[in-house]
């Protein structure tokens, strides 16, 4: 192996990551739970102004913590199930986010149902649309699946734009907020009387913090569920499909069913975020669901290290936060964002925090990513191999 200083630095960083990971694995359960609790407390304290003044001097920190940062994190966790765990390249993830958003907007304005009921309905709808999309397309592999999902994302957006019954290009306005605690009636008792004038978690227009807390709650639930799935038979089946679909099938993994499950779960997570986001933003329109959002979320997943949950969350945070942090540069931020994506992929194609498995695959030169990986390694790799023989 050629070891220039940069490569040495990278290997060193990787080794450090491994050491930390080993230590983490050997810590007793109760200590890990303390760390988890601390992380949640940190997440809840994040919107404070003292952190915000550094993190986003140009915009309201609590607002951008909800959107884009928090929203991207949850979406990336959802997409990670599909791309990182099951190895299915989905370029139209935004479609499910849109289905969730429109479910909230339509049911909320037309039928006036409660937010929590709509959340359940939205999740179910998204799981169903994931299955509907998956049933015909999941027999395709790699790039074909990518382009079909991209097409599906565009179909959803253009259909929303062309259908006047759901607002056409103007979208839907006046989406209701989630019920505040003060509005609740528990066993016929009006909660606002009990609280005596204080208004905790009031879901209004001005204060983004209650929505952020709700988002943290959603994220925690999603992370727990996804982690449990990853460690279960389902997760192992996904890994098998990702690494070699034919081998998995031969070993008796019902690959098609597990791929559908990954799609449905990813879609539900995207949809739940769509519901929550629509409940905060009052109005939505088809332009909120551009392909660029799908691409950005995918970039977050890959950049963070597909398949590794903390990595994916870090990637989403970076992708969402960088353009906001550099709002001072105004219009140049997307230009810089594009250049940063290219640079990151050149210098760290395995992502910021890759899983150990992925790094091993990369070293092996097989390209990794199972069905997404090149069947044929890059011609240059061939050239070198042949030259050295």
């Amino acid at each position: 192996m050629n070891q220039n200083p940069l490569a040495r630095f990278r290997t060193g960083l990787g080794n450090f990551g491994d050491v930390m990971h080993d230590r983490w694995l050997s810590t007793p359960g109760w200590q890990r739970w303390i760390v988890y609790l601390l992380l949640i407390v940190v997440a809840l304290l994040l919107p404070s102004d003292s952190i915000g003044s550094f993190m986003s001097p140009d915009t309201d920190w609590a607002s951008i913590l909800f959107f884009p940062i928090g929203t991207y994190v949850v979406l990336a966790i959802g997409l990670n199930v599909v791309v990182g765990q099951a190895g299915l390249l989905d370029l139209g993830f935004v479609a499910f986010y849109a289905v969730g958003g429109y479910a909230m907007a339509l049911i909320g304005t037309r039928l006036g149902w409660n937010f929590w009921v709509i959340m359940l309905v939205g999740i179910t709808l998204c799981a169903l649309s994931g299955i509907t999309l998956g049933a015909p397309t999941l027999r395709l592999r790699g790039d074909y699946l990518a382009i079909v999902t991209l097409g599906f994302g565009e179909i959803i957006r253009i259909t929303a734009r062309n259908t006047d019954e759901i607002g056409g290009p103007n979208g839907i306005r006046g989406i209701p907020h989630p019920p505040s605690i003060n509005d609740l009636h528990i066993f016929g008792v009006d909660v606002s009387n009990l609280l005596g004038g204080i208004e905790p978690l009031k879901y209004g227009v001005l204060d983004p913090k209650p929505y952020y807390y709700l988002l943290v709650g959603l994220a925690v639930i999603v992370i727990i569920l996804v982690k449990r799935w990853e460690k279960s038979r389902v997760g192992r089946a996904w890994a098998a499909i990702r690494e070699d679909e034919d081998a998995a099938e031969v070993m008796g993994v019902p690959t098609f069913r597990f791929k559908m499950l990954a799609f449905a779960i990813g879609a539900s997570i995207g949809g739940s975020m769509g519901v929550l986001w629509a409940a905060k933003s009052i109005s939505i329109n088809p332009n909120d669901f551009q392909f660029l959002l799908s691409a950005t979320i995918l970039a977050a997943v890959v950049m963070g290290g597909a398949g590794n949950l903390p990595g994916v969350m870090l990637g989403a945070f970076v992708v969402a936060w960088l353009p906001e942090r550099f709002r001072g540069l105004e219009e140049y931020r997307m230009l810089i964002f594009g250049a940063v994506l290219v640079a990151l992929m050149i210098f760290r194609p395995e992502g910021l925090l890759p899983s150990r498995q992925r790094r091993a695959e990369l070293k092996e030169g097989s390209g990794g990513m199972g069905t997404l990986g090149a069947e044929v390694p890059g011609p240059e790799a061939h050239g070198e191999e042949v030259a050295s023989k």
Binding site: T137, M345, I346, P349, G365, A374, G378, P379, V386
Partner: protein
């Protein structure tokens, strides 16, 4: 409904052929790069966008703002096509050098290459919206507003089919596109470089052993694919007379759809797929309205992939015979 279809059949056919030719030319770039590297060159849409601006540059520099005739018209059209080719081919090669080769030499996943391409795509769009259009084309603060080409060619009727006129610009697009296709087909099937491209697509390892310089072949692939996208950009601009920094996106998806439709990796498939897509979406627009044009083409794509995942022709670059 049926009446509409009968009335609009010929205009839709002509439009479909013109759009289809442009899709086909762009699709060539996708299909060639895919055939050789097994990679979706996602930034190819921006290569097309830059082609339209490269062509725009010629009348802009010459300060032409009224229709031309005779030799001057032919000269300017040739110059625009050449400028589009140079701009696009240059962009494509720069993309290969900067965004893909470092990843390739490290054996990174195709997913990483995809993200790199998306990053490059965003970068190029913003570069045009923020710097090139305002500075080079001297339109400060208007980088995101569509830019119109002054009319260069009178839209005279060349001939008519069943009472529906066919304009000279439409014929130009179709004829030029088919001419380029024939030339490319000859290049790939009859020259040494073409043989290298086919060999690499078939088996890179064996190609190296047979003395093919793979890096050169990859560069040539991007050069040729980029050049074709540049021709498409110039033809689109001449015929539809406007462009913008975001124009590549939709054309890119459509062209990729066309490539998949015809059988990705297959050069003749790109032509068949492009024309088919152009025709189908224009016929569909008669029935469902032009708002649904894009939905129609994506639905067709999904259907084709379900029932014939290898595309219409299916045969790939690897098996293309000499």
């Amino acid at each position: 409904m049926l009446n509409d279809f009968v009335n609009q059949f010929w205009p839709a056919t002509i439009d479909g052929l013109a759009f289809g030719s442009i899709y086909a030319l762009i699709a060539l770039g996708y299909t060639m790069v895919y055939g050789v590297l097994r990679l979706i060159n996602f930034a190819h849409s921006e290569v097309f966008m830059i082609g339209t601006f490269g062509a725009m540059f010629v009348p802009f520099v010459l300060g032409i703002s009224s229709p031309l005739t005779g030799i001057a018209l032919v000269g300017i059209i040739v110059a625009m096509i050449l400028a589009g080719m140079v701009a696009s081919a240059g962009t494509a090669m720069a993309l290969e050098r900067i965004a893909y080769r470092p990843l390739r030499s490290r054996g990174a996943s195709r997913l990483a290459a995809l993200i790199s391409a998306i990053g490059a795509s965003i970068f190029l769009q913003e570069l045009f919206a923020l710097l090139i259009i305002p500075k080079v084309f001297n339109r400060p603060q208007q980088g995101r507003i569509p830019m119109a080409l002054p009319r260069l060619m009178e839209r005279t009727e060349l001939f008519s089919i069943f009472g529906h006129s066919v304009r000279v610009d439409q014929v130009l697009v179709i004829v030029a596109a088919i001419g380029m296709m024939v030339a490319l087909d000859a290049l790939v099937n009859r020259t040494k470089v073409g043989r290298g491209i086919r060999a690499t697509a078939q088996n890179p390892e064996a190609a190296v052993l047979m003395g093919v310089d793979i890096n050169k072949i990859v560069r040539m692939t991007f050069l040729i694919g980029g050049g074709m996208a540049g021709v498409a950009g110039a033809l689109y601009l001449i015929s539809y007379e406007n462009t913008n920094y975001f124009i590549g996106f939709l054309f890119g998806i459509k062209a990729f759809t066309a490539a998949v439709l015809g059988g990705i990796g297959n050069l003749r498939g790109a032509l068949v797929g492009g024309i088919t897509l152009g025709l189908v979406e224009n016929y569909g627009a008669i029935f469902f309205g032009s708002d649904w044009k894009h939905v129609i083409s994506f639905s067709i794509l999904v259907l084709v992939l379900m029932f014939r995942p290898t595309g219409i022709l299916g045969e790939s670059l690897q098996q293309a015979r000499a």
